[in-house]
Assembly symmetry: D2
Homo-oligomer: 367 residues x 4
């Protein structure tokens, strides 16, 4: 008799998730099966749930297993899997995190050391839950870890609540600040103090940034940003318009941020953000990550100021390892992961509704 596990399937915007049982897969050589212990509702999950844009359009109405921000424990080790990607031994029951996409190692970006831009890494999302390996998303009892997905043991100092955010938001920000070359002495501006923005703030300070300026319109979020190390905060509500905000940020940073991060997720902030970049600085585009929207950009402003716009979607294995290390060093002190509100898997509809309504900062499904 095959072992099975629960999975909450998604049938399209406006429809309730349906709990079902799926077979627990046998891992191929090099693969693992993880038993999921905690899965967060990420912003992109909400986009799918709402049917927003290209991401929403991609959702099928035949019952798919979505979700990707999670942590768990080793359930089964495939042949040849004895250690994690940092060389630490792995045993059944060990707490782990993993990439939720699978870089191929052979496409042009992969060959050039840019596995975060792999053109094939999303193939593992495709397929019905009735087909092997069944568990392709995090909103279920198990998750299938393909051989090329990086997996790391979670240090004891890192709680499950903290670890659950590592393999999406935090690793993503680690990658982004690396691509943005944030370094000692830099002035960094963060548009948006949501989860990504708070991580960006803490990470920029960890990398030696001289100054981090955070922009948001919610007092509690700005307060959190201060706790993460923000040197200055800009409350949107105190400024009449984009021009006034740009002037304020340029004044605080003495000419603009060496790096400005778009973590709002709305294309309207991009033009404003680009004007906050210092000459020869970088604008990191992460927030508005799915196709289908338009930003108006004045190329002459970019050229005259020699500004780079750098875009980042996924992350590489090193970023995931560094995200974990950062949590082990600073997670406790910064209180990362503390904002989660827990739901059971059978409460997943409520979890999505609550996060969509802004009633909770971070809904976390605990299996």
């Amino acid at each position: 008799m095959t072992e099975t596990g629960r999975a909450a399937l998604f049938f399209g915007p406006g429809k309730p998730f349906a709990l079902t049982e799926l077979p627990v897969p046998e891992p191929e050589p090099g693969a693992l099966v993880m038993r999921v212990t905690r899965a967060n509702v990420c912003g992109s999950d909400l986009h799918i749930w709402r049917g927003d844009g290209a991401l929403g359009a991609r959702a099928r109405d035949d019952g798919r297993l979505i979700g990707h921000e999670m942590t768990g424990v080793v359930h089964t080790l495939g042949d040849g899997v004895t250690h994690d990607w940092a060389g630490t031994p792995l045993a059944v029951g060990d707490r782990i995190v993993c990439q939720y996409f699978a870089p191929c190692g052979r496409c042009r970006p992969c060959l050039r050391g840019r596995s975060e831009a792999c053109v094939n890494s999303g193939r593992v999302f495709l397929g019905r839950p009735s087909d092997f390996p069944y568990f392709r998303g995090s909103f279920g009892d198990y998750f299938y870890i393909h051989p090329t997905m990086a997996v790391f043991r979670v240090p004891d100092a890192v709680s499950d609540a903290s670890a659950a955010g590592v393999n999406c938001a935090l690793a993503q920000m680690v990658m982004a600040l690396e691509r943005g070359e944030v370094g000692m002495g830099d002035r960094v501006v963060v548009q948006g103090a949501g989860g990504l923005g708070l991580y960006a703030t803490a990470l920029a300070k960890e990398r030696g940034a001289e100054q981090v300026v955070v922009i948001d319109g919610v007092a509690e979020r700005l307060e959190m940003a201060r706790r993460m190390g923000a040197d200055e905060v800009v409350d949107l509500r105190e400024y009449a318009d984009a021009k006034a905000r740009v002037a304020r940020v340029r004044d605080l940073t003495d000419g603009g941020g060496d790096v400005v991060c778009e973590l709002v997720g709305h294309p309207s902030v991009i033009e404003e953000g680009l004007r906050m970049v210092a000459p020869a600085g970088r604008y990191l585009e992460l927030g508005t990550f799915y196709p289908g929207s338009t930003a108006a950009v004045d190329p002459g402003v970019l050229v005259m100021r020699n500004i780079d716009l750098r875009s980042v979607s996924f992350y590489d294995a090193w970023s995931l390892q560094q995200a974990l290390g950062f949590l082990a060093r600073h997670g406790e002190r910064l209180g990362l992961g503390s904002a989660s509100v827990e739901f059971g898997l059978e409460e997943i509809d409520s979890a999505f509704a609550a996060q969509d309504a802004g009633q909770v900062a971070r809904a976390s499904i605990v299996m």
Copy 2:
């Protein structure tokens, strides 16, 4: 009695240049005075002449000396000036080229090794011809070379006609391909086969590009691109729309250019060009260099493909030196500089009109 020289002053769009005499300045310590031998009409000169956008708006109607793409000979050496910036001895009469802007060496970009993005380098353009150092533009008999403007002796193998394009178009492209990290094995797409595009083609091959694809709508320009080393050309007229052009380029490059260069100078080509970039590739924005226009950009497309947009305005001293070296090695073979049509300084109105009408590829004022 003060020595004087001719200068063709600009009084605004639609008005003729006026020839006048200005005093030849005495160089301060570290400065030089160049006697201009040849000055090209650059695309940005045309923008000013026509009154286009921000650049046109910046022109004053009180008689200014414009122009910047030029070559000449040493007229006077200031105290302490004995060698060019490559360490070659300089004497009166030596053929030279120089930066036409003056990096300050002390602003934040300069301190970080990005002197091409100096925030003060354009200050030398400001000021009336009646004030020292009088000769601030190239359309006159002399040009004042400030102490922080890089100056290089022109190798004998490089003709005046070739050298005249070095300190603007060619050095600019050298800088851009450096910032775009064009290297061995890269596939490079060039939008626009004007002067910049032809230089880009030849330079990309010099850097070891595997493939250069050039897009234009004029047969002679595509033919020239072939001569510069283009592996493939795309004739705009053969494709119905941007979508068809993007498909063609993606097909030729097996997924897009590792680097795509915008050298058309019209914001409408940017969205199309961004779709021609390979995942993890770079889009080099140079063409649409003055503020005042708008490009519609889909940030989600950039993110999903991890694309960088890098902007380049001026260039550093090393780029100028490399541009000269490139000309010495390949200028003759490639026939660079051969497209110029010569005018006297008193014919400057005709020169601008001819280039504006497209009757000449490159109008060159010979003093």
Copy 3:
């Protein structure tokens, strides 16, 4: 009945190779079996054959299959192998080249995008020919290509004689010049005009080097270097000592090479070579690649001149792909691969003896 193939086993310095038959392995999923068509005798093979230093000491006397510089055709494709690492379809009989070591993708260097420094990539050399996968070296009819060894189809324009040198010497030099950041305008000095030195010369020009200076003591080799694009050659025999050679090179390069490459393979040339490096330049150490020798280095000279010494052993998949692309573009014109002298597998003892005695530039075993 199991299919078998010939293998020339090595039993230690001074002993003849012994031809034996080994089973042709069945490839695991992701692996391939190559039928070797041509295998060169590389310098490191000679070291093993002679029993030189650490490399020689590593050789076992129980009969091992050595050799690694080769080309061949697809004999069997493992499950899931349908394309090469550039995305080109693969079929039985297709001409291919491959890495001869297997980066793990999970060690610290691999995670940081430095797979050429993988700490586990040499594990595939270990093991007796009596154990699966039997064919671990090139001096036999087959070679087992592990799933993480990069494999590329050989373009039609590249002959077998050229292709045989790709997966060691040429890919190694591609990697080295990348790590040495050889770029447009650089002055490059090459110590030693053997196979590596000739490749270095041609590749440096391909990358836009302004000047390549090659040092050797054999007239034919210097002549070959000229044919590869060397701008200047320095004949060792014309200079009294290291001091004179350093002076000559500094004079030719106007202060030293931006990059100097050690391709002689003797530690005595290192001190001399370091003195040929320009301030802020790089010294690429490849030649003296196996432990057990000593170079005397004056650290104060390095510091005062801000010199980097960069070491390179293996190469990454991208370098192999680029090496093939370079051959396709320039191999014919440069006559690369033309220096090989062919031997049958049963003549392998003569092949080694001839190359050891310097009677042939490159002994190539043709199966």
Copy 4:
């Protein structure tokens, strides 16, 4: 009547300094005169004083003004000097620090953005105190700041005692860690817990290093290293030999440091240190900075492990600015500058003797 100031002239090893009066120079345009308030005895001053090696040999016995690690206040501003290199206004009496060497901006390293490796920056050390600008060293009442020496206003939060070490030791370490690309997640090993080693420790943590391991043989120094943020210390006295120390460091770092810094100043530690570097790691050579000694290096070990050795002598203006910023953020907390023992200028002989004898960690001449 010309204003004068005191200067302690050096007449050679073993001879007492002689106090004399020199004219206070009038600054040329772009230059400044600083009134020195505090000058440290740096390790390289001791080398000169003792007559060690090449540095000692360079000292003249005709009475020279040496010294370079210092802080002071603006005494006179040359024409055109209104701001420091960060754009902060400057007035007479403002506390400042400056580069003690003068990058030319025009040599090959300068043109390539490597002004720390300028081949001309030491020219300002040359010349007798009887010739303009007289005050070429720090052991006097004034110091002449040439136009190309970077100068920065000292923030109020930084004490004179802290500021005095900025323009040599601290800026040097900022530059070195930049060249060594020390970043988030790196494991850093520091050989030697003297002034440079302590700065290296604190700076590596500031840049996000995961682990810093410090090696020394003096308990108080290791204790200080802990206070600067060292995660692990290795007491030389507890290990039998280099092999045991290498084993300990490799064990602590799980294979070696991503970056290892030589800050001991003796070539004998280099071979040992190179064996402490992780595969694909960097060895930073700063300590043994003057020519005349020899380190035995096994090139095969470097190659097999793909190790870079990077050498750093001076620093660029950005590093000096960042050093000041680091002090402003962390100097107070870390107690940097607290180890100085003060001497008057007339006590300079005692100051050198005390530091030479190890009686004081840092002798500081207070004017």
